[in-house]
């Protein structure tokens, strides 16, 4: 099986936020929740670059490690998913996540968190594939349809890539060799404890 990863080529990202919009639309993400966002570092300075960031579907995922009810699971494609029927909304995964991926709808009293929501790599959840129940809880399941996440599929500059880690890494390497520069695969060191050597 493939080892699914995201790779954002920040030398190509133009901060158009189409990935953010595509994600929200495809998955009917509730108001106030952002599964994906574009972060611009060094804004307005030399070396400004934008990186589209979502759940990186880490190896040895911290969220799964700290979950008090063990609601996370990893698919055969190494996609980190969670079961909203088991989630209690404690917020621990948000404490542990290096990318700030887990998001919570605000429900109930105080800072009451609802069931956690995060990027599913457009792979739905534990429900039956492509059912209404799955869509309502987790959004689209494009993986079950043989498609890649929409954010990457519709990236106009092909900055954001999704797919098997080895393949997207080789595409990135080729780009870097051709154009002569690259700033590396954002989040890979943190998420996968490896980087793309170019």
């Amino acid at each position: 099986m493939a080892r699914m990863k995201f790779l954002c080529d920040s030398d190509r990202c133009i901060e158009c936020n189409a990935c953010v919009t595509a994600c929200k639309n495809e998955n009917e993400v509730p108001w106030g929740i952002n599964r994906r966002r574009v972060v611009t570092i060094n804004d307005g300075k030399a070396g400004e670059r934008s990186i589209s960031m979502a759940c990186m579907h880490c190896t040895d995922a911290p969220c799964a490690a700290v979950c008090p009810v063990s609601c996370f699971y990893t698919t055969a494609d190494a996609i980190v998913l969670h079961d909203k029927d088991l989630c209690i909304g404690c917020g621990y995964c948000f404490y542990a996540c290096p990318f700030g991926a887990p998001q919570y709808p605000k429900v109930g009293n105080f800072g009451g968190r609802g069931k956690m929501d995060k990027c599913t790599y457009c792979a739905g959840g534990p429900q039956q594939d492509n059912t209404a129940a799955e869509y309502a809880q987790y959004g689209a399941n494009r993986i079950a349809e043989g498609k890649l996440p929409l954010c990457a599929e519709m990236c106009s500059t092909r900055s954001l890539m999704a797919g098997d880690g080895d393949i997207i890494a080789s595409i990135y390497k080729e780009r870097v060799q051709k154009r002569g520069y690259g700033s590396g695969a954002w989040g890979w060191r943190t998420a996968y404890r490896e980087t793309v050597d170019v």
Binding site: V39, T40, C67, P68, V69, S70, L86, N109, R113, G187
Partner: protein, 466 residues
């Protein structure tokens, strides 16, 4: 250094234009002196009256005229624009706000290689950038890449400016080593998401999954082991002279109510808290994931809501008992005698002995700190950011674990461990012999007060009544 760099880039960008392999092969050390003067050129005095027609001929000259800026401005004239050949039109459309005054690489003006293109074609590019009205004077303009009019041999370009920054891996490694976050800006209305990588989560994970479990496990199981051992060695501490059958009031209804309010909420808070730490290892395999989620979710709700009555109870106890819990010299004596637990000594004590005072202050200070940290965690991002929440959670859990351990000892000695102790908080009355044994000074005080209340005041007797 940045100037040298920019001039180098300017050179490299201009090289294909000039069609100069000789320049590309030239040693790098020679290149900067050729280009630097142009980049540092002082602002040329503007001469708006300069005749425009002279402009196209300036191209072949190695030194641009001083009035080039004015000449460049005049090219905004549509007639002159039309007169320019297409090649220079494309030059004007390079990423520059005003198409008329391109501050293109000034270095080519001083290129040591003869110009290969016609003066008319290159005329537009001969304007020194320091004379550009759009540029601040005295600072070298950012070099602009240029489109080569004729294809030339490709020259490997140095990386662009943007790449001089640290790469993703370097930044992430630095962030992991220093514990600093990589942050930027986001255009969505959630500033929290501007954090790209936050390495602190790793430490928090290690703490939660290992350190905290050890602290709690050792503290709680350790106290339980000590209590079990104590029970085996010492047994139940009985009243030395047996119950007298006479009782005296120790805690009134308000005191008992507040005690049990605090105690009952504490037990639920402690169990629901422990469930989040140990439940998935101990309870989940036993009752299954769905039932465990139900228990945990109810526990979470209870934990959030019962925090308020618990805090109320702690504050009430503080108000009621703080007067009798000020540590004094007697507590030191009590401690030196092992509190009566070890050996046969029976230290004197007032209303509360040293151990009870310790329990009081653990409850008030520990409970207060746990409650404060808990309330801060209950409102995420109200006061604490993500790092603050991680630290707050660590404090909350460690203090809670220690409090649970301390309260286990309190529960033991108040029930199983000592004969006659429970009724103080049960019915509120204790046996006279128990009170004499453990709180002799309090009994003396109570008796004195009781005698005073029943003995008639001497002054109230009518004179001459005897």
């Amino acid at each position: 250094m940045s100037m040298l760099r920019s001039t180098l880039i300017a050179l490299a960008a201009a090289a294909p234009l000039l069609g100069a392999p000789a320049l590309a092969q030239a040693p790098a050390a020679e290149a900067p002196p050729a280009a630097a003067p142009a980049a540092e050129a002082p602002p040329a005095p503007a001469q708006p009256q300069a005749p425009a027609p002279a402009q196209p001929q300036t191209g072949a000259q190695p030194q641009a005229p001083a009035d080039a800026g004015a000449a460049a401005r005049t090219t905004t004239d549509p007639q002159v624009r039309q007169a320019l050949p297409p090649a220079s039109q494309t030059q004007q459309q390079l990423p520059q706000d005003d198409g008329a005054g391109p501050p293109q690489g000034s270095s080519e003006v001083q290129a040591p290689v003869p110009e290969v293109q016609s003066a008319g074609e290159t005329g537009q590019r001969q304007v020194p950038n320091s004379a550009d009205p759009e540029q601040p004077t005295g600072t070298p303009a950012a070099p602009q890449p240029q489109v080569a009019p004729t294809p030339v041999q490709p020259i490997p370009a140095p990386p662009p400016l943007g790449n001089r920054n640290l790469s993703a891996e370097e930044l992430e490694l630095q962030s992991a080593l220093t514990g600093r976050r990589i942050t930027g800006i986001v255009s969505i209305p959630d500033d929290k998401l501007a954090v790209l990588v936050q390495p602190e989560g790793r430490d928090w994970r290690a703490f939660r999954n290992s350190t905290m479990m050890w602290i709690g496990g050792v503290a709680i199981l350790g106290v339980l082991a000590v209590l079990a051992l104590f029970f085996l060695v010492r047994g139940r501490i009985r009243m030395r002279h047996g119950p007298s059958g006479r009782t005296m009031q120790r805690f009134n209804f308000l005191e008992r109510s507040l005690h049990w309010l605090t105690a009952s909420t504490f037990i639920v808070l402690a169990l629901s808290g422990l469930n989040l730490v140990y439940g998935r290892h101990l309870l989940r395999p036993v009752i299954g994931p769905e039932a465990f989620t139900t228990v945990s979710e109810l526990g979470k709700i209870a934990h959030n809501f019962l925090a308020f009555p618990f805090t109320l109870g702690v504050l009430g106890l503080l108000a009621l008992w703080v007067r009798d819990n000020i540590p004094n010299k007697l507590d030191w004596v009590w401690l030196k005698n092992g509190g009566g637990f070890i050996g046969d000594a029976h230290p004197q004590a007032g209303r509360f002995n040293g151990g009870q005072k310790a329990v009081f202050w653990i409850t008030v200070l520990g409970g207060g700190a746990v409650a404060a940290s808990g309330f801060l965690l209950m409102f995420p991002f109200f006061v604490l950011n993500i790092e603050g929440q991680q630290i707050g959670h660590m404090l909350h859990s460690v203090l809670s674990m220690l409090m649970i351990a301390a309260m286990l000892a309190h529960i033991y000695i108040g029930s199983l461990g000592m004969e006659g102790a429970f009724s103080a908080m049960g019915s509120g009355k204790v046996d006279y012999n128990w009170a004499r044994e453990h709180h002799s000074m309090w009994v003396d005080d109570e008796l004195k007060r009781a005698h005073e209340s029943v003995r008639p005041e001497p002054a109230t007797r009518p004179a001459g009544a005897d």
